[in-house]
C-alpha cells in the first residue's frame, strides 16, 4: 500500500482550477520533493492531504484511508505556512496540547522530550508571543513531529528558517527518513530538499509534469527539472 494515493483530483477556487486531473502515488518510506513555481498547486495539494480541504473531483487516500478519517489524521504530521502554535500558551503547554490531541501515550513526557530535541528546554515556560522567529519555527517543527507520524507533510519548511532551525529540521527529517516514515515536502530551496529526497514530483499549473526517483543529475544541477519539464 502506498503512503498516499491521489487519483484524478480536481480542485477549483471560483473559476480557477488549482489542480487539474492530478494523479500521483507516493510510495511508503519515500521522501518526495514536491516542486513547482508559485501558484502551481503545491499548497493546494498539501492542504487536501492534510485534511483541510476536499477535492471537487477525484479521490485521495492516506495509508488506505480517507483523509478525514481518524486513522489517517493520527498518523500525519503537518507543517504548513503558519507555525500552528498558540501565542498565549507556553512552549510546553503547546506541545502538551498537541500531544493530547494526537492521543500520545504520555503527553507530558513526550512534550518535554521534544522540547529538548528542538533546543527549547530553557524557555520551556516562556510564552510563544515572546519568542524569536527561529524559536517559533523550532517549536512548530516539534509540534509536527511529536506524535511520531507515519506521513509528514511540509509546505516550504526551509523558507525563512534561521540556521539553527534548519539544522534541527534536517536532522529530524533524516532520522524520519531512516526510520521508514514517508515525507512529502514542497519547496523552493532545491538544494536542501533534493539532498534529502528519494523521489521528486513537479507540478505545473495544477498538473503533474514529472514524477520519478531523485537522480544525482538533479542534485548536481537543480534547475534541470524546471528546464526540461517546467514552464518556459
Amino acid at each position: 500500500m502506498n503512503a498516499v494515493e491521489v487519483q484524478g483530483v480536481w480542485k477549483y477556487f471560483g473559476d480557477y482550477p488549482a489542480l487539474r486531473d492530478l494523479t500521483l502515488a507516493v510510495p511508503r518510506g519515500s521522501c518526495m520533493a514536491l516542486l513547482g513555481r508559485n501558484g502551481a498547486g503545491k499548497t493546494t495539494l498539501l492542504r487536501i492531504l492534510a485534511g483541510l480541504s476536499r477535492p471537487a473531483k477525484g479521490t485521495v487516500t492516506i495509508l488506505g484511508a480517507d483523509t478525514r478519517a481518524r486513522a489517517s489524521r493520527v498518523g500525519v504530521g503537518v507543517l504548513g505556512h503558519g507555525i500552528g502554535v498558540y501565542e498565549e500558551l507556553s512552549a510546553i503547554e503547546n506541545l502538551r496540547l498537541f500531544a493530547r490531541l494526537y492521543g500520545v501515550e504520555n503527553p507530558e513526557r513526550t512534550a518535554s522530550e521534544w522540547l529538548e530535541r528542538a533546543g527549547l528546554e530553557r524557555v520551556r515556560d516562556g510564552l510563544v508571543r515572546e519568542f524569536s522567529r527561529g524559536m517559533r519555527q523550532r517549536l512548530a517543527v516539534a509540534r509536527a513531529f511529536l506524535h511520531e507520524p507515519t506521513l509528514l507533510l511540509l509546505d516550504e519548511p526551509f523558507t525563512a528558517l534561521d540556521d539553527r532551525a534548519i539544522a534541527v529540521l534536517q536532522t529530524l527529517l533524516r532520522r524520519a527518513r531512516d526510520e521508514g516514515r514517508s515525507i512529502i515536502m514542497s519547496t523552493h530551496q532545491l538544494r536542501e530538499a533534493l539532498e534529502l529526497a528519494t523521489d521528486v514530483a513537479l507540478i505545473n499549473r495544477g498538473r503533474l509534469a514529472y514524477t520519478g526517483p531523485r537522480t544525482d543529475e538533479m542534485l548536481n544541477d537543480p534547475g534541470w527539472l524546471y528546464r526540461n519539464y517546467g514552464e518556459a
Binding site: 480541504s53 493520527v74 503537518v78 503558519g82 502554535v85 501565542e87 496540547l97
Partner: protein
C-alpha cells in the same frame, strides 16, 4: 513510539468515548487558558456589560415598577451583546498562526472542537453574568436571590443557547471576507426565540415570583432550543469548516 509503518488500530468503545471527552476537554482547557492569560476579550465583554447597566440606571433611573417590567429584557440584551464579543472571536482567534489548520488536521473531530469551545465560551459568559447580576441588584435595587435555583437554571439554559448559536456561526463565518459584518446579521435573529424565553423567565423571577404553569412553556422553549441547536451545531460544524 508508534512504529514507522503501522496504522492506528481500532479501540474499545469505552476507551473511544473517554478519548473523545479528553480531546474536547483539551480544546476547552486551551481556550480558557489562552483567554485568561491575555484577558482581552473577557475584559472588553465585562466592561461593556457593566457600562451599559450603569449608564441605563443613570439615564433612566427606573422606579420599582419599571424595573420589574424591564429587568429580563435589560439583562439579556446586555448579555447578548457582551457575549457576542466573546463568541465572535471563538473561531476567529484560531486564525492567528494558522492554528485552525493545525487543529483541523489533527485527529480531533469537528464535534470535539465545537463542544470544547462551547464549554469554554459558556464558562466565560457565565463569569460575566455572575459579576453583572449582583451589580444590577445593587444599582437597580432588585432582590435577585429570592428564587436563586430557578434563576440559575434560567441563566444556564439561556447562556448555553447563546453560546451554541454564537460558536456555530463563528465557525460558519470564520473563512469569510465579510466575517465582521455577517456575524451579527446572522446571529441575533437566530438567538431571538431563546432570548424571548429567557427574558420572560428572568422578568418573572426578578419580580419575586416563581415560575408558574403559565410560564412553563418558556422553560420548554429554552430546553428544546438548547437540545436542537446543540445537535445541529455538532452535526454541521465539520461541513462548514472543511471546504
Amino acid at each position: 513510539m508508534t512504529p514507522a509503518g503501522s496504522i492506528a488500530t481500532t479501540v474499545k468503545p469505552e476507551l473511544a468515548a473517554l478519548r473523545w471527552v479528553r480531546g474536547a476537554a483539551a480544546v476547552c482547557a486551551k481556550d480558557l487558558r489562552s483567554e485568561l492569560r491575555s484577558k482581552d476579550t473577557i475584559n472588553a465583554s465585562l466592561s461593556f456589560a457593566l457600562v451599559i447597566l450603569l449608564l441605563f440606571s443613570f439615564a433612566f433611573d427606573p422606579g420599582v415598577d419599571t424595573v420589574r417590567e424591564i429587568s429580563g429584557g435589560l439583562l439579556w440584551l446586555v448579555f447578548a451583546f457582551a457575549g457576542a464579543l466573546v463568541l465572535n472571536r471563538s473561531y476567529a482567534r484560531e486564525l492567528v498562526n494558522d492554528c485552525l489548520d493545525a487543529l483541523l488536521s489533527s485527529p480531533v473531530s469537528g464535534a470535539q472542537l465545537f463542544l470544547g469551545k462551547c464549554v469554554a465560551n459558556f464558562v466565560l459568559l457565565v463569569a460575566v453574568e455572575v459579576i453583572c447580576i449582583p451589580v444590577f441588584g445593587i444599582f437597580y435595587n432588585v432582590n435577585w436571590t429570592r428564587h436563586l435555583g430557578q434563576l440559575a437554571i434560567t441563566f444556564a439554559l439561556g447562556t448555553w443557547a447563546l453560546t451554541v448559536i454564537g460558536t456555530m456561526f463563528s465557525a460558519m463565518t470564520v473563512n469569510l471576507r465579510l466575517r465582521e459584518l455577517m456575524l451579527p446579521i446572522l446571529v441575533y435573529p437566530m438567538m431571538i426565540p431563546a432570548l424571548m424565553a429567557a427574558i420572560q423567565l428572568t422578568t418573572v423571577l426578578m419580580a419575586g415570583n416563581t415560575v408558574s404553569a403559565d410560564n412553563l412553556i418558556w422553560f420548554k422553549v429554552l430546553i428544546g432550543f438548547d437540545i436542537i441547536f446543540t445537535i445541529l451545531g455538532v452535526s454541521f460544524v465539520d461541513t462548514v469548516l472543511i471546504g
